[in-house]
């Protein structure tokens, strides 16, 4: 799947650039080959060396002797037979008709126009063409008619030429293969840093603020500049976001001392009130309630800030599903009844003794938060389902409330987010419950997601991978 996606030119920059490169190389090569062919016959004329001339004369004498014996059917046949016996091939040209005597030879025919140019009185010369060397002309006589004789040898080392000329298909294939390899390396070197950049941006977008561009930022070109700028930006963002989170944690941290004093003062005031037989302590009781509320909020913010900063130490242990879930379900049922709502709990068979490797406190408080949230927003019924699936244990918490706008769904796990803008204080929370839950689950390598049910209401899915124990062990 991944490979297919990678080579789809519509989606992969890599393949597109690669194809363009190879197309360009191919066109340029084809054009230059065509032009070279058009301008140059491919033939080279060289002065003949003395030993070559001697050899030609020898050959000519021998051939003339053969002709003079007069036992041949035709001149071209004789040339053929003679060529087979000696090291060199003999090519005969009729200077009057301007044609090859030994016609029909596939390798010689293309050079025919060059060979027929020669006249009887042409100086002896070496002609290199088509992987062969022609030395000539000398003359032989048959029946009073003069023929030009060329001695031809294949030029040693003409292998590549041989391939090009004998197997053009193979040659093109080889050419494409080599240029494709070069193109691949080139494109890869061009796109690798871009891929790095893209991966870093993606990691950053998905919340990993520590994501940085690696080696690509060390390049001295524009891409390197882009990489460095990205890293700079990432650093700034990380600093800002972490600073903000830390601030939240720090404020809550600092709030604890005055709050502790406030709570004690309330206690003292209440003691005084009791000792002096003060009847109306309702205001003090109210203040105490609010102080407790602040205390709960601070505890939540601190919890969130610890989970965010990764300071939370998970004390994981093996615990059965029932040990975790049963107390939560019982409490939740009780709470639902108090609100004249109901909670239905369905568990897949055989999960009772399933062991989870979790931090019981953190995990169960996350689960409890989700369930209590569902109880709060449902009309009359909350459904809790636990099933074991391929990717782990799945907890589904469904309510029959009014659900959420699709655009808001992802936001419910953000801190301080509330479905209704009216801050309804009686719900007890500060909008941190689900945020803490999602971070707590993430610490367990699990996943929390929400969607609207078709029948109305919200469904929160919690997936907890089950092979945790092996991972940790």
């Amino acid at each position: 799947m991944l490979v297919l996606k990678r080579i789809n030119p519509a989606q992969s920059l890599f393949l597109r650039v690669f194809l363009w490169f190879i197309l360009a190389i191919f066109l340029v090569s084809a054009a230059s080959i065509f032009m070279v062919r058009a301008l140059d016959s491919g033939a080279k004329y060289r002065p003949v060396k003395p030993e070559q001339k001697r050899e030609l004369n020898q050959l000519t004498r021998k051939f003339q002797t053969q002709i003079n014996k007069g036992r041949h059917e035709s001149l071209s046949r004789l040339a053929q037979q003679f060529s087979k016996r000696s090291r060199a091939r003999i090519v005969l040209v009729d200077p009057v008709e301007n044609t090859l005597v030994s016609a029909g030879n596939r390798r010689i025919t293309p050079i025919e126009p060059l060979l027929v140019e020669f006249a009887i009185d042409s100086p002896v010369i070496a002609l290199y063409a088509r992987g062969m060397r022609f030395v000539g002309p000398s003359t032989v006589m048959e029946n009073g008619k003069t023929y030009l004789l060329f001695e031809s040898h294949p030029v040693p080392g003409g292998f590549q030429r041989l391939i090009r000329e004998e197997y053009p298909g193979l040659f093109i294939a080889l050419f494409i293969l080599v240029s494709a390899g070069v193109c691949y390396l080139l494109v890869r070197s061009l796109l690798k840093p871009i891929t790095q950049l893209q991966k870093a941006s993606k990691a950053m977008a998905s919340g990993d603020l520590t994501a940085r561009v690696g080696s690509a930022s060390e390049r001295s070109d524009q891409i390197g500049q882009l990489g460095r700028d990205f890293n700079l930006m990432a650093e700034k963002v990380e600093l800002l976001v972490n600073g903000q989170k830390r601030l939240l944690g720090d404020i809550s941290h600092e709030l604890r001392s005055p709050l502790a004093r406030l709570q004690l003062s309330i206690g003292i005031a209440l003691q005084h009130a009791q000792n002096s037989d003060e009847q109306d302590t309702s205001a003090l009781v109210r203040i105490e309630k609010e102080a407790n509320q602040i205390e709960a909020m601070i505890a939540q913010v601190l919890m969130l800030s610890r989970l965010d900063s990764g300071q939370a130490v998970l004390s994981r242990q093996l615990i059965t599903l029932d040990e975790v879930l049963q107390p939560i379900i019982e409490d939740a049922k009780f709470e639902a009844e108090q609100k004249s709502k109901s909670l239905i709990y369905n568990k897949q068979n055989g999960l009772t003794d399933l062991r989870l490797y979790v931090d019981p406190q953190l995990f169960s408080s996350a689960l409890e938060n989700i369930i209590r949230n569902a109880i709060h927003y449902c009309q009359g019924q909350v459904l809790v389902e636990v099933t074991q699936e391929e990717n782990g244990l799945v907890f589904k918490i469904k309510d029959d409330g009014s659900g959420m706008e699709e655009t808001q769904l992802a936001r419910i796990f953000e801190p301080f987010y509330r479905a209704s803008n009216a801050r309804d204080r009686n719900s007890g929370g500060v909008g941190l419950g689900l945020a803490i839950a999602s971070r707590a689950i993430a610490q367990h390598q699990g996943k929390l997601s929400a969607k609207n049910r078709k029948v109305g209401g919200l469904e929160v899915n919690l997936t907890l991978p089950l092979n945790l124990e092996e991972d940790m062990a």
Binding site: H253, R256, R261, L264, S315, E323
Partner: protein
Amino acid sequence: MTDKHLLLIDDDIEYTQLLSEYLSVQGYTLDIANDGELGLNMATSATHYDLILLDVMLPKLDGFEVLKRLRTSHLTPVLMLTAKGDDYDKILGLEIGADDYLAKPFNHRELSARIKALVRRMAMLPTNSTQQNLKLGDVELSPSTQQVTCADHPLELTGTEFSVLQLLMINHGKLVTKNDISEKVLGRKLAAFDRSIDMHVSNLRKKLSTYSQEEKIKTLRGAGYQYLVATC
């Protein structure tokens, strides 16, 4: 009313004053130390304290260090005041030998309930002198002297550890649930996934195992603990 002497070690001066005022109404006498060094000196002085309230964050000597040094010589009950949100602190505190912990900021009712539970339990101990000494295998527990010996070696146990051991030995061979231990020893209901009882039992086991190889306290997962009766 109760006439108990408490020592409060905390660096927040205003807070200690408030606490002193609050607790004195309930009949406790409160001494205050605003840093760890002073606190340790006072705790180990000739003055008898029924309970020490010990904050974790302290100048000069932090709460854990104070507790560690105190425990080398004294078994005075200690209630750790940890910072809210630092779960690690309370576990560490219990490991070193704190009797209980309370996360700051806390509700004042919670505080007086905890203090009452710890002080009352300690106060109850001498009245236990009518109780018989317990002897199971090589472990001997004497409620009157608050002494425990294992294979004739005296063990240094904190008040909470002593009470946990006593409870388990009285009910030897039977299952004692964590909730029972929490209610009878710490005077409070066991909160969900509270590990403090486990910590106390684990400390007990460690101390017992110094002198005895055989397993004495068995964990019944998810349920509680059981003191094993020697089969021989």
